[in-house]
Amino acid sequence: MTNRVDIQREPDVVLARQAARRAAIEMGYSLVDQTRITTAVSELARNIFLYAGRGWMEYRHVARSDRKGLEFLFQDEGPGIADIDLAMTVGYTSGGGLGMGLSGSQRLMNEFEIQSRLGEGTTIRIVKWLG
């Protein structure tokens, strides 16, 4: 199962996090984990809209040994991130936010992986394990 939410307009950020919450509820995540997942998705979906203009989110169930989880993939073909370490720094922002988007969502999830190429786009993969 892979689902996709296109992110092109600002209200799509809301659609993305609502889809994330539904998926988290369906899989039986605790209330805290639902909130963590939804918040991280909100941050990353907004980043696509803010920095790349358009992109998409894909999400699916994943399993590793005896664990189950939810994986979200955020992809855009925007300008890319020149310095990922700098972008991950708490408080650093190039878009007028709090500069907590990337580092904050990393803290809320179990796995966080970012790949970016200048002029080609950015891909971020996050996973939250169940239980």
Partner: protein
Amino acid sequence: MEKTSIVKIQNVLIVTLQGDIDDHSAQELQQEILQSVIHHQVSGVVIEVSQLELVDSYMGRILSDTARMIRLMGAETLLAGLRPMVAITIVEMGLSIEGVKTALNLEDALEVLKGGRAAAPSLGRDG
């Protein structure tokens, strides 16, 4: 926006946030609250957030900015009824909602504004 209400009771403005608010609506709401503070000449604003399911960095920024703007206009802001799960997420992300005082619920907030008791110390550096 249709889910959000702003009510004036005596000299306090009570703003109730509900559901899932997109960034643009949050901006508009800030405008509307500031306008209402001037229009009604209130001395206190309670932002009731018990129905808010999520505070991410953007919403956190809006809340803290709005509180600081209201203070510049001479009124006090209290954030009331934040959900435990939302509080945990805010702390774990490392967000600090600066300059906002908090209260357990609406009743508690009104008591603080009436001068009945001290609020929980405001959060962050400018508290």
